[in-house]
């Protein structure tokens, strides 16, 4: 499995960067002030701009859409899947906290629902607070995402007594600290790629989680 993974991963990386270097050869002479790759990995596209992202990987894959409502506020929706057995549809806002020539810092808050189909079903409301730090250098955008996710899993207890049936609910908490370290690349102003390493410690601190990797394709533009 390791061999297959190594070859696949290496192949993806090589193919991506070969494509990128060809694109670089054909790039326009003016650098991109803002581009889809930056908006995707750094968050908070400007007012009127949007970016659609598809990131495929193991174990996490993502579909994400972001629309700039103002120069600082972004509306976003996201669907995350872990190996096709755990899904998180989310809706939220992003706030551009800092912006400079080579830095963009975004805070994001999302809320949604968790659906996990496994030996133990996990379903319930889910929220996430995360920060994106992107450092655009021409076409390249190294980025870091740090987040904290919280899911609340409702359990139902029913007690049949002689006097009648009582029901009560309780909630279990699932915490997932999250980190992504990646590199975005602008093929053009409207099309970008990214490659990232994810670590989502699902069920921390009582569990062990494996790190993952994703490759993303991003499309952006103005409304």
């Amino acid at each position: 499995m390791n061999v297959r993974f190594g070859v696949t991963f290496g192949g993806c990386v090589i193919a991506t960067l070969l494509g990128a270097s060809e694109a670089a050869a054909a790039e326009p002479r003016t650098p991109f002030p803002a581009h889809a790759a930056l908006d995707a990995v750094g968050g908070s596209p400007a007012k009127g701009a949007y970016v659609l992202s598809a990131q495929g990987g193991w174990p996490f894959s993502f579909l994400r859409a972001q629309v700039g409502l103002s120069d600082r506020i972004t509306l976003q929706s996201e669907l995350e899947s872990a190996v096709g057995r755990r899904y998180r549809p989310m809706l939220g806002i992003g706030v551009r906290l800092a912006e400079a020539t080579h830095v963009r810092l975004t805070g994001e808050f999302l809320a949604g629902w968790l659906f996990q189909r496994s030996e133990e079903y996990r379903r319930g409301p889910n929220g996430e607070l995360r920060f994106r730090l992107a450092i655009p250098v021409r076409r390249f955008v190294p980025y870091l995402v740090l987040g904290t996710r919280h899911a609340f899993l409702p359990d139902l207890l029913t007690i049949e007594r002689a006097s009648g049936t009582e029901t009560s609910w309780s909630l279990r908490h699932e915490w997932t600290p999250w980190a992504t370290l990646g590199l975005g690349f602008a093929i053009s102003r409207g099309i970008g790629l990214d490659l990232g390493i994810n670590y989502g410690w699902v069920g921390a601190p009582d569990t062990i989680a494996l790190p993952g990797v994703h490759l993303g394709l991003h499309f952006g533009g103005d409304r």
Binding site: W113, R122, G124, L156, L157, T158, I159, R161, A162
Partner: protein, 149 residues
Amino acid sequence: MSRARFVFAGALGVVLAGCVNEETRLYEIELDGKVAVPDGAPSAGAVHLAFHVAKTFGEGDLEHPLGVFETRTVAGVGPVRETVLYPLDEGEGLVVYGWLDSDGDGVHCAPGQTEEPAGLVKVAGFPAHALSFSLTLRAPCVGPESLYP
């Protein structure tokens, strides 16, 4: 309730019902019983009771007799009144197992101790919220597996 509220409550119910993770269904039983030892046998000491489902659900090979769901300790032999919560989804039937802690060490027949009697009874009438049983502790140093089925 307005129609809108009714629809909202219904929708909320559907959402919540579809999102239960663990559903536990318990059945309350008030047990009125008597624990005894054979005439003339030593009877001093606390009695440790274990309440079992008589048969645990399971597919094929995984179905098996017994399955403890609650334990209690009572002061000694004599009348017993306990309320237990029976796990409806785990099995069927009710069995009460008990042993006499003659030496008060909390261990059933620690090495060298051979005088702590045990007993088991399958409670008749299950399921019902009020049941009675009579348990005689006469078998020394055995677990429920040696007494049932």
